[in-house]
């Protein structure tokens, strides 16, 4: 979308005598946004122009089509990324993490506050960045699980 498409002057002229209502739309500067400049094939003879123009309402409007474009694309991107990550968590992750399948049900069974933090602490003491990210992810997953249990299953909050 080119820049000149981002402004418009829209004049709405209601029915007048035998002329039906009309919408005029032109790309002019704010200064020129008035009936005389925008209503181009003037439907009335010269002496009626004033009266006709008084009825018309002209509005100068601006937009940024780039903002719209960027917003929509970012939005779609984020939705897509989230969907992919969700699929990853649902399908791929369990396959990778088969090594410690026993902690999962245990945490599902009891969620006493004292029992939870141990893996977090272990993770946060990891040395490489990767391990830390890993740890953070684990912790986050625990948190979400907890939240899901609170909100969706036990209806303790937010119901």
């Amino acid at each position: 979308a080119k820049s000149f498409e981002d402004v418009r002057c829209k004049c709405i002229c209601p029915p007048y005598r035998n002329i039906s209502g009309n919408v005029y739309n032109r790309n002019v500067t704010q200064k020129d946004c008035n009936c005389l400049h925008v209503v181009d094939p003037m439907p009335v003879p010269g002496h009626d122009v004033e009266a006709y123009c008084l009825l018309c309402e002209c509005k100068y409007e601006e937009r940024s089509s780039n903002t719209i474009k960027v917003t929509i694309i970012i939005y779609l991107g984020v939705v897509g990324a989230l969907l992919l990550y969700m699929l990853f968590l649902l399908l791929v992750d369990p396959l990778i993490r088969k090594k410690d399948p026993y902690t999962q049900p245990l945490h599902n069974e009891e969620d006493s506050e004292e029992m939870r933090p141990r893996p977090e602490a272990a993770a946060s003491r990891g040395n490489t960045v990767l391990e830390r990210v890993e740890g953070a992810q684990q912790r986050w997953k625990k948190q979400v699980q907890e939240q899901r249990k609170t909100v969706f299953d036990r209806h303790k909050l937010l119901s």
Binding site: P14, P15, R63, K156
Partner: protein
């Protein structure tokens, strides 16, 4: 009130308190997981770096290594010169002075901690230029934070507006010149629009046109219908799945929880980064799916998330729960400001409806933030008309004093509807909470979406989004309008009217108007019923727009049916008053609502009708139940929220509410200097109280102070680990803190014969978590916030066990 654990005998012992630590350090002060990675170095080793200070040997070392800004352990008595050397800005003993999830903060402690910190910075600022700079930047960090919150929330709101608009129109068709344009922007430069059908242009293709090539006819209608249904289902499925997968806390409106959080409750992760992302994304999806919900309430939640995340950038706010809540109060104002384009209304909303502690400083800052946000949103210009909201109107029609009667009638209707809605919605939510219905949240959302879409599509007033409907109804029919509702017969103009402008006078209603009114009536009934079950589903859902839509629909019908002949009636004004009345009935907002509507219209003239309607609505609704929808949801969930608006009426005394009751065992207390570590541990282990009073001796029961369970555990554990010679037989000594380390909140006391209304007032105004009850200087018992809430529930004949949290 501080304590020092002084060891009297040697010997180390393994304790089982160690497991407390990692969690505490990780959760020290962030409501979110974001800092953990970066802050993982902030573990216990840091306290080891503090060199032994003073000359007191073991005792003083212990004292100073655990003396901290968080203010849990101090040094003995008045000779507090040694601990003064400990820099209070250093890392405190981690976890001390923090709170567990689902607990209530102690406002006094937090505020005095902040003042302490501020005092320290001021003191230092006299010493060096760098410290002076730091103090200046600290003073301005509040304003900077507000600016950032305003910018971020404004930008997010703009994005949400654009995306929601586009997705909503995607249900209908697609733009050929650029898929990212919504219907209106697609036809932005088109000259093919006509006066009657202003939106139609060749660039915009409905699904029927794309698929079958036809734009009219039964087949095209069916295709459009199916596509509408399809997209609605897709959107709502996506919304509920994403919420479930990434941030279950993102569902609902968020305002009841934010109210509770602002009153001092802690819900970790509720205002976190993931909640923000998920809520922003799914809000757009939920709104676009055509469900009867609005984006205004969740925008408040979104703004609060922004504020909470940005708080992490500033130490002042990251580490202090009370200060952070000040920012969150301002963020609530920002949310409403961008939702309605009403900065003043937003501030008043925050003041009247959401906030608990709202000092004047916050008033000014929230106003600033609200303005910045509104300004940002305007510069994004999401609707392309320089307005912040879709349904902005500019009225200039006058109203007559006689019209106050219909306005008050609208108010009565609004109040009735509000009371009815609250009852129905709460009953439904309770059912969802307790029965099997709640086990299928995803299915529920899908079914409701399907029903909504199926019923909504045939009726043009329900097919459009709530905001559009309101916009249409608010519209003051002028000659320029082509809306069906303005389907009066067009009069012939004569030249004498030019000066006076366009007038509606003497235009008889056309046939189209009656069709429109029928549709509107059906839309009203449909909206009223579907909103009841929609609000509370597991998608982000605001209530403002649906409530507002009910009002004008009613008003529109009413105006349309009853007085098509009356000249001077402005349907738009009635719609607006109706919207205010319904919203007022549901939320029980008053001043803020009037101001929001005033800012929407920009005309001071309509304040009186709006106020008449809002006031009537509130009174009528209050007659059926004192609670607004948010308070009702707070009560449904059992949050520990002490309503500031209601007066405590009952004449009970503190002694009636305090624990222990007469039949209970005596209060678990610690003595000042006669208990061993083992005894203390046993006491702590055997009880589940969140704090213990400290008395001079078991006999005298003279109160010395109060110790939080969490702080006690952490300190004991720290002593066991760090210090040689701490055994179970070591004597534990609790001492008054030294003057230099004043941050601990004092134990508040009331006498046993204090009336409960005064006690409740003290709790509310000072933000207490607990209060001790004394009689002639002797400790009698303790009252916690939960005790008060339970007592209030009991008085109101409700189940006291519905209060779930501390």
């Amino acid at each position: 009130m501080f304590r020092v654990l002084r060891t009297t005998r040697g010997g180390g012992m393994e304790t089982d308190f160690e497991r407390l630590h990692p969690r505490d350090s990780a959760e020290e002060d962030d409501d979110d997981e974001m800092v953990d990675i970066a802050g993982a170095t902030l573990d216990f080793s840091s306290t080891d770096d503090v060199p032994p200070l003073g000359a007191g040997g073991l005792d003083d070392y212990f004292g100073s290594s655990s003396s901290s800004r968080a203010g849990v352990t101090g040094v003995t008595g008045m000779n507090g010169s040694a601990p003064k050397l400990v820099d209070p800005l250093d890392d405190p003993l981690p976890g001390v002075g923090t709170y567990e999830d689902f607990n209530t903060i102690d406002w006094v402690r937090e505020k005095s901690r902040d003042r302490d910190r501020h005092r320290e910075i001021t003191k230092k600022s006299r010493q060096s230029t760098l410290a002076l700079l730091r103090s200046v930047s600290d003073a301005f960090s509040g304003w900077l934070l507000m600016l950032l919150v305003g910018l971020m929330a404004g930008a997010l709101a703009g994005g949400i507006d654009i995306a929601a608009h586009w997705l909503t129109d995607l249900k209908e068709g697609v733009c050929l010149v650029g898929f990212w344009f919504n219907h209106e922007h697609c036809c932005w430069t088109s000259n093919e629009t006509t006066f009657q059908e202003r939106d139609r242009c060749p660039q915009w293709q409905t699904w029927a046109q794309l698929i079958s090539g036809q734009s009219q006819g039964a087949f095209a209608y069916i295709i459009n219908y199916l596509m509408y249904l399809f997209w609605a289902l897709i959107f709502s499925l996506l919304a509920v799945t994403l919420v479930r997968a990434f941030a279950p806390y993102a569902c609902g409106s968020g305002i009841p929880e934010i109210k509770t959080i602002l009153s001092g409750f802690i819900i970790r992760g509720y205002l976190g980064k993931w909640t923000l992302i998920t809520k922003t994304i799914t809000l757009v999806l939920a709104v676009s799916s055509g469900l009867s919900l609005g984006k205004e309430g969740p925008l408040v939640h979104v703004a609060c998330c922004c504020a909470n995340i940005l708080c992490h950038l500033f130490t002042k706010y990251r580490k202090n729960e009370a200060k952070r809540r000040e920012v969150l109060s301002a963020a609530a104002a920002v949310g409403v400001s961008v939702a309605f384009g009403a900065p003043i209304g937003g501030v008043l909303f925050s003041l009247e409806e959401v906030s608990y502690y709202f000092p004047l400083k916050t008033l000014w800052r929230s106003f600033f933030a609200a303005l910045v946000a509104a300004f940002t949103l305007r510069s994004i210009n999401p609707f392309g008309n320089s307005r912040l909201v879709l349904f902005y109107v500019e009225f200039h029609a006058p109203w007559h004093l006689v019209e106050l009667a219909p306005f008050i009638l609208l108010g009565i209707f609004g109040g009735l509807w509000g009371a009815l809605f609250i009852r129905a919605n709460i009953a439904w939510c309770r059912r969802r909470k307790t029965t099997r219905l709640g086990h299928y949240p995803v299915l529920e959302v899908l079914v409701v979406t399907a029903v909504t879409a199926l019923i909504a599509f045939p009726n043009s007033y329900t097919r459009m989004s709530g905001a559009e409907l309101i916009s249409e109804l608010f519209n003051d029919c002028s000659l320029l309008d082509s809306s069906q509702l303005c389907g009066y017969k067009q009069p012939s103009m004569n030249i004498s009217d030019t000066g006076a402008g366009n007038s509606l006078a003497d235009r008889p209603a056309g046939a189209g108007l009656y069709t429109a009114l029928w549709q509107l009536a059906l839309a009203l009934i449909f909206k009223m019923s579907i909103t009841v079950i929609t609000f509370g589903m597991k998608v982000p859902s605001g209530l403002f727009i649906p409530s507002m839509a009910v009002g004008p629909s009613r008003a529109g019908c009413w105006v349309g049916w009853c007085s098509p002949g009356a000249d001077c009636i402005t349907p738009g004004l009635y719609a607006m008053v109706g919207a205010a009345a319904c919203l007022g009935g549901v939320t029980r907002m008053t001043v803020s609502l009037v101001v929001i509507m005033f800012e929407l219209t920009g005309g001071l003239e309509y304040i009186v009708p709006l106020m008449a309607a809002t006031m009537t609505s509130k009174w009528v609704a209050d007659a059926f139940g004192r609670e607004g929808i948010y308070e009702a949801h707070i009560r449904l969930n059992g949050y520990p929220f002490l309503e500031a608006k209601e007066e405590f009426e009952h004449s009970s005394l503190a002694v009636d509410v305090m624990r222990p009751r007469r039949s209970d065992p005596p209060l678990a207390v610690l003595t000042q200097d006669s208990m061993t570590l083992g005894e203390v541990e046993a006491l702590v282990e055997s009880t589940h109280y969140s704090g213990f009073p400290v008395v001079v001796s078991q006999e005298s029961q003279r109160l010395v102070g109060f110790v939080f369970r969490r702080d006690l555990l952490i300190s004991i554990d720290n002593a066991r680990k760090r210090q040689e010679g701490v055994v179970s037989a070591s004597l534990v000594v609790f001492t008054e803190h030294a003057p230099a380390q004043a941050p601990e909140a004092p134990p508040f006391t009331v006498t046993d014969h204090t009336a409960m209304d005064i006690t409740v007032d003290i709790f509310r105004k000072l933000g207490l978590r607990q209060c001790l009850v004394t009689h002639n200087g002797r400790l009698l018992g303790i009252i916690t916030k939960k005790d008060i809430l339970k007592h209030m529930a009991q008085i109101a004949n409700r189940d006291p066990d519905s209060i779930l949290f501390n």
